[in-house]
């Protein structure tokens, strides 16, 4: 089992080196976006920088002393966003998508040569929350789970390269 420590932002070179089956621990800034935020991101693609990592996650947060603290923050089902992901990858230049359950063949094709899919362990929200910190939030009008959260990760993992940029998939 190959273990890779990754740092965001990711360039095409870093992404192309990853192989299906590798285990990743990720550090740096990333963005949550699920159904509603993905739809809005396609229309407002400058809301996140190019070469970003998008995490399919609707975090559970609480306010402590005026600060937003993550309580539980595991992955959500990626296939719900299948129809939107090719446009998201094309418009936002996303380098990695983190989620669970995998994506459609169409999305795998859209990822080819530029993007990977990293599988997080579904339900491990308490554990992952310890590795992540809230840096900011936008689009709270969509509701807390659907908003665009900016998270800072420190050795966020384990994540498994489930679809690599050459199109090899573990599903």
């Amino acid at each position: 089992m190959i273990v890779v420590l990754l740092k965001t932002p990711l360039d095409a070179g870093a992404v192309k080196k990853l192989r299906a089956g590798d285990v990743v621990f990720l550090s740096g800034v990333m963005f949550t976006a699920r159904d509603q935020a993905t739809r809005r991101l396609i229309a407002k693609s400058n809301a996140i920088p190019k070469n970003s990592v998008v995490y399919h996650c609707g975090p559970l947060v609480k306010k402590r002393g005026g600060k937003l603290v993550l309580v539980s923050a595991g992955p959500t089902t990626s296939s719900r966003m299948n129809a939107l992901l090719p446009a998201l990858i094309a418009k936002c230049g996303v380098r990695a998508i983190i989620g669970k359950g995998g994506v459609s063949e169409e999305v795998v094709r859209a990822m080819h040569g530029k993007c990977v899919y990293l599988a997080a362990v579904g339900g491990a929200g308490a554990l992952y929350a310890k590795q992540l910190r809230v840096r900011g939030v936008k689009w709270l009008d969509l509701g807390e789970p659907e908003a665009l959260w900016t998270l800072e990760a420190k050795n966020f993992g384990p994540l498994v390269v489930a679809v690599d940029s050459a199109g090899k998939t573990l599903y």
Partner: protein, 268 residues
Amino acid sequence: MKPSQVSVLTQKLLLQAETKLPRDVERALRAALKKEKNKLARLQLKTILENIALARHSRVPACQDTGFLEFFVEADPEDFPAIERGIRAGVKAATKKIPLRPNSVDALSRKPLNDNEPLIHFAPSKKSLLTVFVKGAGSENATALFMLPPTSQKIEECVILFMKNKAVHACPPVFVGVGVGGNAEQALGLAKKALVREGEANGNARAARMERSLLERINALGIGVMGLGGSTTALGVRVETAPTHTACLPVGIAVNCWALRKASARLE
């Protein structure tokens, strides 16, 4: 029965269900880890067990999807209105205090309601029991109803084919509830009841045989933990039946992620 007492009990049960996975679920995960040979499946099972311990120790929800909140009330019908008020107040308080993720939205506009809307089932009974069942949307989306021809011998095949397509999205290893019989809505209700009763033995020998066979066949699919391969796809299968119409064979299927979250207590 005072609503305020029911509210306190509701909050206690929600905290227990969300933060403390039942010990038999943890035992089933440990048993799976012992047998599992796939390296990625083993890594993920260990991560899940670590997460369960952390959630229990820190009293935080194991999963960020704190779920649909479903309540089963078995009590004297005279107490139903007070119990309903208590549950609703308890859910509101627990959403803020534990906290729970505000999951409810308007079905058509998708506007957030910034709260959780519980679903409460009432059954007249002398028991005086309150059960909470918390289910994430990932597994709720893996629900189906099939109206098979009454002469069909393919109940198991129907479940296997469904699991082959859907288990990967429901956070495997999963628990599977199968409801056979009744009418359409009853079959789905039985499937859900099967999940709530998971862990109890089925008294019907034929249903018990089907449970063992389905568990073996689902695990032979090779879907594995989170769909990344291995022999751990289901931790349990439970079948519930009811008499049906001579011209009907409804089969309801309900799936639960590994985090089978439920808690019960007496209503005093």
